[in-house]
């Protein structure tokens, strides 16, 4: 690997890290604005024009708040919880292909940090690591509510990871590869060989299962039982204050961003957009592809918020019923149907 390549990779990592933090920052603002619009209100509009400086005011407040570690808490784990949470949230974006190759002055720049051939597995692994931050934080707080929130988070994530994995297996039957770059390349354009190229149109049920599980994995309403304010005061982060609380809240928004990116890449063509073959400059296609991917991600983030301000929270037994009695049988049926259809099509 040449020095130039290393510098480019390093720059890419820094840019992606900065973008995901910036998007998480503005997701908090967007969440408040979107919530306000859904409730016929105006939302924050005092800090700067239309309130666009609000996230910086909130962030500054978070940093200046008093840092409290309860006397009975396990101090090391108490700090490890939020650190792990934001760490796993940030590393998920490493395998997302953000666009096609850019060619700058003879150098080919991959708009992806690393194209490992088990990208989908890596995503699943990172997602299942994410729950450890919540669990450790909730357990280390030495508080009943925190512990209940942590237990809920753990059992919920385990239940929904199963159907998420099964939904992805059906997708892998279609794609035949675990590399996210290849999955994105297979969905080139919008229409080919008499059918849509995007996986959503080949796996609609799989996508439905995946998005439901994504809601559960990111602890978003209607599956926000680990942190429900009404029953558990705040769940696993009841005892947290200052920037450690900020990290928990922040990692939720980064998770939203990453899962939006994963859903866009797996099911909605990633950086592909309709009529991309009509543009002949490859660099322009690559840049428009990045724009298209981000448009899809922003739609998914908006959808997350839209659902949050529409649907009330599930009761815990309903949540488990849905996960084990509805989603898993559906996912298995989806695998069987996909397998049969693919076998007949390949005849």
């Amino acid at each position: 690997m040449e020095l130039a390549d290393i510098i480019i990779k390093f720059a890419l990592v820094v840019i992606i890290f900065a973008i995901s933090l910036l998007i998480a920052l503005y997701s908090t603002y967007a969440e408040r604005k979107v919530a306000a619009f859904f409730q016929d209100r105006l939302g924050p509009n005092r800090a700067g024009p239309w309130g666009i400086l609000q996230p910086f005011a909130d962030g500054g407040k978070m940093f200046l708040k008093e840092e409290i570690i309860p006397a009975t808490a396990s101090k090391f784990l108490f700090i490890a919880g939020p650190s792990l949470s934001i760490f796993t949230a940030c590393i998920g974006s490493a395998v997302i292909p953000w666009g096609k190759q850019l060619v700058i002055a003879g150098h080919t720049v991959d708009l992806q940090v690393t194209d490992i051939n088990v990208g989908v597995l890596y995503i699943l692994g990172v997602v299942s690591l994410g729950v450890y931050g919540v669990m450790i934080g909730g357990w280390a707080s030495n508080n009943k509510y925190s512990l209940l929130g942590a237990i809920r988070a753990a059992s919920q994530n385990i239940s929904y990871e199963i159907s998420m994995g099964l939904a992805i297996i059906a997708l892998l039957l279609v794609t035949g590869t675990l590399s996210l770059r290849q999955i994105a390349e297979q969905q080139h354009g919008f229409w080919a060989n008499g059918w849509f190229t995007w996986n959503f149109f080949k796996q609609p049920l799989g996508f439905l299962l995946f998005i439901v599980c994504a809601f559960a994995e990111t602890n978003r309403t209607p599956f926000d039982l680990p942190e429900c304010e009404t029953e558990l005061i705040g769940g696993y982060h009841t005892e947290y204050s200052s920037m450690k609380l900020g990290f928990y809240l922040f990692s939720e928004y980064i998770n939203m961003f990453v899962s939006g990116a994963v859903m866009a890449t797996l099911y909605f063509g990633g950086y592909n957009f309709p009529f991309m073959d009509m543009i002949h400059s490859p660099n322009l296609v690559a840049i428009l592809g990045v724009v298209a991917l981000f448009a899809k991600i922003f739609f998914f983030i908006f959808f997350f918020m839209w659902v949050r301000w529409t649907i009330p929270r599930f009761r815990y037994d309903q949540l488990m019923d849905l996960g084990w009695k509805a989603l898993i049988p559906l996912a298995i049926a989806n695998i069987v149907i996909t397998g049969i259809v693919i076998t007949f099509l390949n005849r």
């Binding site: 619009f37 409730q39 016929d40 209100r41």
Partner: protein
């Protein structure tokens, strides 16, 4: 029992049918409802800059009126204090001296006129009772304060501003 109105709707609890059990139609219905609200005009009134208009018959802070020559109308008859159900009004009467004719309309006036805004219920009986049309509840809200004693409003806060100044 006879129904009071024909609006009564008999509810029966049936087991959910298939479409209701898979939640999705209801969820999309809900999403459509929130999306309709998303485009609706916000109802927010941005308070310090915008203020909601008071209704015509809003009763707010009292003001002690002056007549067309700028003389105080109140003659300290005490009918307002008598009519007040919350006993919020007290006053001390005084006799008008020579040379004060431009200040007070009649020979007797209120030297001290105090309303305790924590007692007042803004019922408007004092303005109904006043024979001299001297008191009206046509002001804004009574603002908040820190000390109880600051809620006892004297003539400095109640009397209308002089005509030409």
């Amino acid at each position: 029992m006879e129904a009071l109105s024909n609006k009564r709707k008999v509810m029966e609890s049936k087991p959910l049918n298939f479409l209701e059990r898979i939640y999705l139609p209801a969820i999309f219905q809900g999403l459509a409802i929130t999306m309709r609200h998303f485009w609706r005009k916000p109802v927010t009134i941005q308070y310090p800059e915008q203020q909601r208009e008071y209704s015509e018959n809003f009763r707010g802070l009292h003001s002690l009126k002056r007549d067309e020559n700028g003389k105080e109308r109140c003659t300290a008859c005490g009918l307002c204090a008598l009519s007040c159900p919350a006993e919020a009004i007290t006053m001390t009467a005084a006799e008008r001296q020579k040379g004060e004719e431009h200040l007070y309309r009649e020979e007797k006036y209120a030297a001290v006129y105090e309303i305790n805004m924590l007692r007042c219920i803004f019922c408007g009986l004092c303005e109904e009772a006043c024979p001299k049309e001297a008191i009206y509840l046509d002001g804004p809200h009574v603002t908040s304060d820190y000390l109880r004693k600051d809620f006892i409003y004297g003539k400095d806060k109640l009397v209308e501003a002089p005509l030409n100044q």
